[in-house]
């Protein structure tokens, strides 16, 4: 059973369409939710976390409707995008209180809170009011309250926002580790190159619809409208370029003798790689490096989202 299932889910805010007939299934590991502002990411997160009801369709988390459902909430941890803490409360008190809502006694809540705050490196400031925390500390506190009860599904809405580079790195490592433990993690972010460090499984959204979901490379392969770009480093770019001209499936070639590079576009990347290998052997052409500048998340995002 998937952790999260959405079946033809739509959600309106008055006349504004937040989500449009979304079908989605999420299992264990880290899944990244990507899309520009207004794509519907936060709406989807609120539906999955049980804060909103769908206008139509079904949302199932661990097989149940998550809206106002304590039994689903017991297995859920949410790191919301908004910053919100009660005034004049210490970090530990806040985590303790939320743990007590999970049914833990006061002693166990206290111990769990201390342990979790140590895990997110807030142990030295646990007794200080949250209002004195820096932005990064608050983000870590949000994470602490979400994981203190060891949820099976962790949802993070823009967890990297406001973090410095070190903090972002730590958060990414932490998210990956949580996913590697077999838990389900759904993370929404705008920072593409950092999402790539977290996972290759993405759900790409725009204007309330899911444009693509799955592995980044698989998605890239399916985008026929944009041929793949391949960049080759070779000491003989002119000769290589001349040889490649005869290849079927090549849309364009450019080369630079100064940079010792050949760059081409092809709609059949797999076939091209095979032919290149044969060419290099038969014609004794040296290729130092081969890269694909657009076989990445940014390219997928750009090709699918931008008009």
């Amino acid at each position: 059973m998937s952790a999260v299932e959405l079946q033809s889910v739509s959600r309106w805010y008055g006349t504004v369409l937040g989500l449009s007939r979304v079908d989605l299934s999420l299992g264990s590991g880290v899944t990244a939710l990507l899309g520009p502002n207004g794509a519907g990411k936060s709406t989807l997160i609120r539906l999955v976390s049980g804060q909103l009801r769908p206008s139509s369709g079904n949302v199932r988390v661990f097989g149940e409707n998550p809206f106002a459902n304590p039994s689903v909430a017991a297995h859920l941890g949410l790191v919301p995008e908004e910053e919100g803490f009660p005034p004049r409360v210490s970090g530990k008190d806040w985590v303790c209180f939320l743990l007590r809502l999970h049914g833990y006694g006061s002693t166990e809540s206290s111990q769990r809170a201390e342990h979790t705050l140590e895990e997110v490196r807030l142990d030295t400031v646990a007794h200080r009011p949250v209002s004195t925390y820096s932005r990064g500390m608050r983000q870590r506190l949000k994470l602490a309250q979400a994981i203190a009860h060891h949820p099976d599904l962790l949802i993070l809405d823009e967890p990297l926002a406001g973090l410095d580079p070190v903090g972002r790195r730590e958060m990414i490592d932490w998210i990956k580790a949580w996913g590697n433990k077999g838990h389900s993690v759904l993370v929404s972010s705008h920072i593409l190159h950092e999402v790539e460090l977290m996972t290759r499984e993405i759900v790409l959204m725009n204007q309330g619809r899911v444009l693509a979901s799955g592995n980044v490379h698989d998605i890239r392969r399916l985008i026929d409208a944009h041929p793949h770009r391949v960049r080759l480093s070779t000491p003989t770019p002119k000769i290589l370029a001349a040889q490649l001209l005869d290849f079927p499936g090549i849309r364009s070639i450019s080369f630079s003798e100064e940079r010792e590079q050949v760059e081409l576009e092809t709609k059949e990347p797999e076939r091209f790689y095979e032919l290149l290998a044969n060419l290099a052997l038969e014609e004794h052409i040296t290729v130092h490096e081969m890269t694909s500048p657009d076989d990445n998340l940014e390219a997928v995002f750009k090709y699918l989202v931008e008009p």
Binding site: S42, G50, Q51, A68, A73, E83, L101, G103
Partner: protein, 266 residues
């Protein structure tokens, strides 16, 4: 009993009570509830310096209770705290944390309402008792002793009244975006206007039943002029309890169905 106190609703109630108790806004409200005590002090000073005063100590306490404590202080307390039960969490941005916990919406709101109500009573009753002692004690211990049952009844009426107002404002706070305005119109508009409208209309106010329960015989003539004939104590208590229970239940119902779209869209 232990199971109740360890229940999640009790956890929420305790958290709500503790966090509100030591907040700056409670300091402000506590000073408001001291209005009647301040008046009692002024009364005592006036009597002590030989100024002509038209009341006995207990008479003064009766008037203050009937004209300041119950019609103004009690509803303002309830409006201040109960209307913000959900709104404050939404404004602080803490609502997503609460509604995504394994606690039913009923328990969550019941806990918050219980904590808030307990705090309102904890703020109001000491003011009432203090006002009584400041006003009546100089008349002698015998006077205090003989009037003490009245104070106890006043305290009971206060709890009923605060519970009724609290329920109304909790429901308004859950159902409306601007509960303060509607609450003010109800307390100081509708309830005030109802004194001028004869007949059944007066029965559609909380003040009508509260005033009828006040055990201050000296005021009943004046109060009857304003509020019409008193209903029986049993009827008044039943109506106030019903108002309290029904409005709290409506608040819970409204909250159970509410969705929270948050402040940021993406």
């Amino acid at each position: 009993m232990s199971r109740f106190w360890n229940s999640r609703a009790a956890v929420v109630a305790q958290w709500t009570f503790e966090k509100l108790l030591w907040s700056p806004r409670t300091m402000v409200m506590a000073s408001v509830t001291l209005f009647p005590v301040a008046l009692a002090v002024i009364f005592r000073i006036a009597a002590a310096v030989g100024l002509q005063v038209s009341f006995t100590g207990f008479g003064f306490f009766s008037v203050v209770t009937a004209t300041v404590s119950f019609p103004f202080v009690a509803p303002m307390l309830a409006l201040f705290y109960s209307s913000g039960i959900v709104v404050d969490e939404a404004e602080n941005g803490t609502l997503p944390y609460l509604v995504t916990r394994p606690i039913t919406r009923v328990s969550l709101l019941a806990g918050k309402m219980a904590g808030s109500l307990a705090l309102q009573i904890a703020i109001f009753l000491p003011s009432l008792v203090l006002c009584f002692y400041v006003a009546v004690a100089p008349s002698g211990f015998q006077e205090v002793g003989s009037r003490f049952p009245t104070l106890a009844l006043d305290a009971g009426v206060a709890i009923l009244g605060i519970a009724a107002y609290s329920g109304i404002f909790a429901f308004l706070g859950t159902a409306l975006r601007r509960p303060v305005l509607v609450g003010l119109i109800f307390v100081f508009g509708w309830q005030a206007a109802a004194t001028y409208i004869p007949g059944f209309v007066r029965k559609l106010t909380v003040a009508h039943y509260l005033q009828s329960l006040l055990p201050h015989e000296s005021l009943q003539g004046a109060l009857s002029g304003l509020w019409g004939e008193r209903p029986s104590a049993l009827l008044a208590v039943s109506v106030l309890l019903t108002i309290s229970l029904m409005t709290h239940a409506l608040a819970i119902l409204a909250f159970s169905r509410k969705e929270f779209a948050g402040r940021v869209s993406s």
